[in-house]
Symmetry: C2
Subunit: 332 residues, 2 copies
């Protein structure tokens, strides 16, 4: 990056808002303040941020995006923390997006992950962002992908997305990762088995964490058997199952080896196809959100939205018919 | 229901498709085949189903909608099963919607819950439906609410929605319930504590299940303390914390008492406000989905969608700009 812009942050941030191209270049050059502000503006849906994203687009598509998915209690935050340390040992830069469950009413995020990872805070090769779900319908997945794109454009070699991975939104996040790590722990009962069956299809690497607990070998065997049954069909890639103890760092080197191997596999084989599918999903998601926002903006300029809402609230019209009235209104 | 329609199911189902009003009446009269087919058509987004929903709307708004939310491994399915049995003892009819995590690729649902609940299958006072997430963006929450409305219109006294409750979509489901039961188990580590903090705001009743396990009393105390801190502000209602063992049925009577008490509380106090908020959310959700579907239909009739998709896939245009092109195209 030899075209780095010398600037004092204070004067520049105001400048950036005038010039999306300049802002995009600052992000691509790794200016932390420029990147942080962009993320905040994206969260707050401030229009200029979209123009920066457009200008940044040609800088994206280089990072290896890794999903780390596991139920509460599987220790996946600690695992991510160890993965970051391992990646840094291997001289890779890392971005982390922690998708926190949070209340739709308080709109507050949980601080746990951020506190746990603070040992990386002083490392300029690591950028961590916690994402609260802001209570907006369907917004989680889109926001997450925005943040991933920004980190990608910043030049991070790896971008790790940590999620609980059971809802539809999380499944959409999972779809956008190149390599999905599924974290399990021994003996969590049959509900977990059910999750396992659903998530088997999306896992590229499986980790049995807390492998010092009773039942770890059994959990590994169960997973390997399920993968074997699923895999009989074809495929040149068989997902590995790794035992780990994130607390002590056991198994983390193995895990990172597997991540790198899977990265090579998809790049070699069907990398172009996967990349196209990712972009397609991203386009649909952005379109969906934009349509809703555009219509809401237009509704605000008329009384139609307010009137319909009141009618629905008072059961004078059903919500399906009300939606149809909006669709057929010439708001355009 | 004295205007019940005498009919042979085989001949009638064809008739129903011609006449949404007749279909709606059949559902309201409790015809199982009519209700099942409606749910399937809603899943498959077949247009006539929307007309039936419109006709059914004035039959909804009577059921007590109960959310049961808990992480995998908390035994919430067993708890729901016991709640159904208890409700039947109290001569209430029940609908159950089990929201299953499922693969976005196989589109298959997990059968576990259905098998577990099969003892209720022969009881005409119980209607159970498992919901797979069909891989469509943002569709889970909307489908769930459709099914809840159908069960409500069928005249079920209680409609229980079981969900893992950590994703955004599940949070939207939670918002639509009158009474939210949050299920926890003793000693699942600090990740669970984090979830707890997020979910505290939405819980009306807390259950510490598997209360024979070590740490149950501690878990109850922790929850009560958190509720106390949150509650200092105001409110006439303090969420109770109940110990239960769903496997043996211990605590289920208590739990149902609390459900009924909360039902009376919200009906008495701010029932109208809650109902308005539910309808508002429902309207927005339907509008959001309808806008996307309408635009997709219209895009199919032109080459614009296909062309833009190809450009995005080949990185010739960024997805934000592509979405803007759709928005500004005069498809209308």
């Amino acid at each position: 990056m030899d075209d780095e812009i010398p600037m004092k942050p204070a004067s520049t941030l105001a400048q950036l808002e005038e010039d999306p191209e300049l802002w995009a270049r600052a992000v691509a050059n790794g200016h932390l303040l420029a990147a942080s502000r962009l993320m905040r503006y994206l969260d707050d849906r401030i229009p200029v941020a979209i123009n920066v994203m457009k200008a940044l687009f040609h800088q994206t598509g280089k990072a290896h995006i890794i999903g780390v998915t596991g139920s509460p209690g599987t220790g996946k935050s600690t695992l991510v923390d160890q993965l970051v340390a391992e990646a840094r040992k291997r001289e890779k830069t890392v971005g982390v997006v922690a998708v926190d469950p949070s209340s739709p009413f308080t709109e507050g995020a949980i601080l746990g992950d951020r506190i746990r990872m603070k040992r990386h805070n002083v490392d300029p090769g690591v950028f961590i962002r916690s994402l609260a779900t802001r209570g907006q319908l369907g917004g989680l997945s889109r926001s997450t992908h925005d943040i991933v794109d920004v980190m990608d454009a910043m030049g991070k070699d790896l971008v790790i997305v940590e999620t609980v991975g059971v809802g539809q939104d999380e499944m959409d996040i999972v779809k956008l990762a190149h390599t999905n790590i599924i974290v399990q722990v021994p003996g969590m009962g049959d509900d977990v088995q059910a999750i396992k069956a659903g998530i088997l299809e999306v896992g590229d690497i499986f980790v049995v964490n807390k492998s010092d607990l009773v039942g770890a070998d059994r959990a590994v065997q169960d997973l390997e058997m399920m993968i074997h049954f699923k895999d009989q069909s074809s495929s040149d890639y068989t997902p590995p199952v790794i035992k780990a103890e994130a607390n002590t760092g056991t198994g983390i080197g193995d895990l990172m080896d597997c991540v790198e191997r899977h990265g090579q596999f998809i790049r070699g084989r069907n990398g172009a196809m996967i990349e196209k599918s990712r972009l397609r999903t991203r386009f649909q998601e952005i379109l969906r959100q934009s349509l809703f926002e555009q219509t809401q903006d237009r509704l605000k300029k008329t009384n139609l939205g307010k009137n319909l809402m009141e009618k629905v609230e008072n059961r004078l019209i059903d919500p399906y018919s009300a939606a149809e009235e909006v669709l057929s209104a010439k708001l355009y």
